[in-house]
Symmetry: D2
């Protein structure tokens, strides 16, 4: 019986203890695949889960993190999508394959990796083949591990839901993982990208990545800066990552019949804004809950075609997971990844 080493917690809370544990793996039966983890990408949400549990029915010891890349080592007798040696990435909402989302009004979908389901900070996992997608050929494992949450969120907002096209104006807030994917995905579609940040140095790096316009939030109202840069036109797409009352700024920034994708909640769980621009400009405001597997497969295909390389701020060794977690709080430029 094979075992696996894994990072785990025994309870949630600000004082939760991170330890490395060991677990016996399930048999590789039916449609299950045994995957050896090569890299795990961290998200801010991983901290929220460990610190608050986010109301999820976690089972302890709980393994954190939702996004990984690895290699198939063995497959069950009913597996048809993968074979040993295939490079794969995980899916965030394993049961959402395509089309309409799961859950209902009273009980929104919450069955995700590293939340309801155990996470991926484990050397090996044995799970249904349906829970994985093919990794891009053109990315290494660390890069590939950033796609299931951060990459797919930006793709789902701009492409699957947003139908972005060349010449569109895209406003991206900040330089975190989703924001930089938004910048890169928008550029591969020929869009014009406006990026906001409070850091001149980060803006410089964003411009080097392809941003057309850098807007420093410390140099006056960023919406007014956007108006001036666009002759009053505004942004066709806004990735609203700040949260809370900041939606009001997005409503001012958005173009006529534009689109605001609500993604982040850094500044509050109660979104608000003026009804005037919402009514008069008639934009679509849509929350983005990552996305389905079919869109992840589309993203993988786009990555291989365009050569887009995800931005990794720093790579940490497996044993350094706690340091990687700390990095999340310091506002990384792009992603933080743990390599195995």
């Amino acid at each position: 019986m094979q075992t696996t080493r894994q990072w785990q917690i025994d309870a949630v809370g600000p004082e939760r203890q991170l330890t490395i544990g060991e677990r016996t793996l399930e048999p590789v039966s039916g449609n299950r695949v045994l995957v050896r983890t090569e890299a795990v990408s961290l998200n801010f949400r991983d901290r929220l889960v460990m610190e608050s549990g986010m109301g999820l029915p976690l089972q302890f010891p709980f393994v954190p993190a939702s996004d990984m890349a690895g290699v198939v080592e063995a497959v069950g007798p009913e597996v048809s999508r993968f074979k040993p040696g295939d490079r794969v990435i995980s899916t965030f909402s394993p049961d959402w394959i395509d089309g309409r989302g799961l859950g209902d009004a009273r009980t929104p979908p919450y069955k995700t990796r590293g939340g309801f389901y155990p996470g991926v900070l484990s050397q090996y996992t044995v799970l249904s083949e349906e829970w994985y997608s093919r990794a891009p050929d053109t990315l290494d494992a660390a890069q590939a591990s950033t796609l299931p949450c951060a990459g797919l969120t930006a793709w789902f907002a701009l492409i699957e839901r947003g139908g972005l096209k060349a010449g569109d104006k895209v406003l991206v807030q900040g330089t975190g993982g989703v924001a930089l994917f938004g910048l890169q995905i928008a550029k591969t579609h020929g869009a014009e990208v406006f990026i906001t940040s409070g850091s001149a140095e980060k803006l410089e790096r964003a411009v080097a990545l392809g941003a057309d316009h850098a807007i420093n939030r410390h140099e006056g109202d960023w919406v007014e800066q956007l108006y001036q840069l666009t002759g009053g036109y505004g942004a066709d797409h806004v990735l609203e990552i700040v949260g809370g009352p900041h939606l009001g700024q997005a409503l001012k920034a958005v173009a006529i019949n534009g689109r605001i994708s609500v993604i982040g909640v850094f500044e509050g769980f109660e979104v608000s804004g003026p009804a005037g621009p919402l009514l008069l400009k008639a934009p679509v405001v849509q929350g983005i809950s990552v996305g389905h597997r079919r869109a992840l497969e589309d993203l993988v295909r786009a990555i291989d075609q365009t050569g887009l390389k995800p931005v990794i701020d720093k790579r940490y060794a497996f044993d350094k997971f706690p340091e990687a977690l700390d990095h999340l709080y310091r506002g990384p430029f792009g992603k933080v990844v743990v390599e195995f």
Copy 2:
């Protein structure tokens, strides 16, 4: 030179004086049509314009109201869409024919009838033929006059933007003009309609009009009632007419990947709500600024095909316009119309 009698104000404000004035009509040249007004439908917005001006550059004496039905009496030499005797209705945003809306992010579209442009409470008007649509054959003038704002708003939300289909669950708030159009339009498409109100008597009338479920807001949380009526499913479409923090209730009520059309601002110009259901259920929240002429033509066609009859709470004679305005404040069941 022909003249016309009209209701007018000489200044905006809570104490504005309503008077009947007289004006000389423009010549019926170029692509202009002379239309004799038969009925004008009132909207809550007409009061807002007269009382506050809503920031619009009104010209005085200002003629209020945006929605009318009438008969073409004469046409200019370049007119091709109408001939004398044709029954017509006005358009709310005369310059918006189809497709993308007008204006930009800094200056949202505001050039509407009875606002930036003079209103329609006048016995005659001489305007471009582009500013009118054919009236339905199956409605009288008073009924037809309710379509340009209230009817089109509900149609644009549910059909043009919403793609409503049979079996969908639609939640309508209240029993005002837009709400009852929402109810009726939803029923002509085979949807299941849930209507909320604080009045048992109005709910009874709504059920007589075809509502499947009546939810009394005074008998507990209406969202919980909706959950129970739908087994937790929620509403595919919510017509959010209340405004302000009430958007939060709509976010709780909406089904997975459903749609909230933000229409009304009765309870506040700052909309707000919890990010959780917005993110997890990923609904579309979209403001509705009435709609374009092509959709109005679609609505007219649908009215004639389905036999839908707009609900008029009371008809007032031209001289009784002030009483009709007062009626607006008492919460009419459907529309209030002035007949000429």
Copy 3:
């Protein structure tokens, strides 16, 4: 070990022998459900499969037919969607749940019930719970059995792909199963329905079902009749069921930017038509390969909400399946069903 009686063939061909055989059922393990068949609805395709095999790798003895309604009698330990006593209907493409279709350009999807997979003319079946949908509460078993192919095809064409709305003009060709579903579904959405047939008696019955206009194909060019009935407007949606060069007629009949759903191939497997109206009117021409399970669930919901009753031309007892098959060739008005 439970057994089941079933209709079967041992080889395909015009002279294939229909016999009643008996088979041992699989165990009700895993996510399997045991369903007792109550009714099977026949499609023209069932004849094509039995007579030609349609190039499919059939396993003999082969059980024909794809559409059934029945009752769950037992469930495996992993089943979560159904319980004993639930009324269910089959799905035509069991592996297509939602979103993008399966297969690829070289190998289009062909894994359907009663084709690649065994059919349903069997007293009992033991299959994955994923292969069934809930039956409508408001239909009996025979009526419910008509939904998986005929009902869903019309729904997918007009609603899922077509976004039909009230006032739209829908042209339906003939009075077969899909055609009458098209008529009824269009009417529940407030559309205006034009139906063509060569039989005055069938047209009369179609009008009784709600068709707005009957067009007798023997009384002159039906496209010209449509032009006259619509003032030259044409049809927003055409259900093209005839096949072959008849697509040319559909291209003439379709309105600007309208939609032609190609469904039937009665008159030939090579479709053709003039490029002029295709280019100038820019309609969408789309083949319809039935539809996915999510849309079938939407249809079931719509049926229960609107009270739509499928049209069954005649019901046959299980033993009379050969007579039922013969009926298919005589051009039934609606569906032919075998009851168990």
Copy 4:
């Protein structure tokens, strides 16, 4: 009174005489603008109009050609969209601004420049401001003149109707004007482009322009080559420019739920193909009749943002228009332009 020199014909037919004539210009009144032509781009259709009239009610002397770029020299008193000195391009269907197309089923839209309306091979024109769009800042006049027909057709097919995204597989037939725009527009959106041609030299030039895969039609069935290059997946988008029975090849080539844009009729006005792949793969087949002005404005914006440069095979002086016309028959690589 200002006059203009122009190319003209006095009758249609294979033997039509091309002459340079002179005409008095209309006054620059109302919403008219006087535009000095700088370049005119030719289309194959220009030959069809001159040789057959295409059934259009032409007025003689008839000025051919539909696509131009020029400079505004004077504006009428009601003009608001342009001022003297503005660089503009023409629109192909001047009355189609946005949304649904014009015309009806019986009388498809045909009121285009260089057809129903007089063409643009004239040194000056005086027309409504609504008939022009802003030219891109980043193109010279000859390049800009290629957008109204060839550029917009490819854009409308792939972007406005097609919603192309990065990673999509696009099959482009040949190396004419629309085909090369299709190639370039697809590449600016991150797509993978397959181009077919019978000329190894043209394929080489297409690869230099960015095509990912060159398929020589003389080296075996191009559909089979596409299958092999894509592992059987096929093409998400096919620009079907050949016409006639070639649609059948497009139907074989297209991916599941893909899109075939029917554009060209070089090999016949009767399109045809097998029903099998149309039904089983359920692609959208849509004719493309160039596009509306709003989409042309989107394309102009995209051109300026992405730096796309239209491919001009050869530029001819105004006096050399007959030589330019001859060039059209020799299969240009991209566009043929007349400069003033």
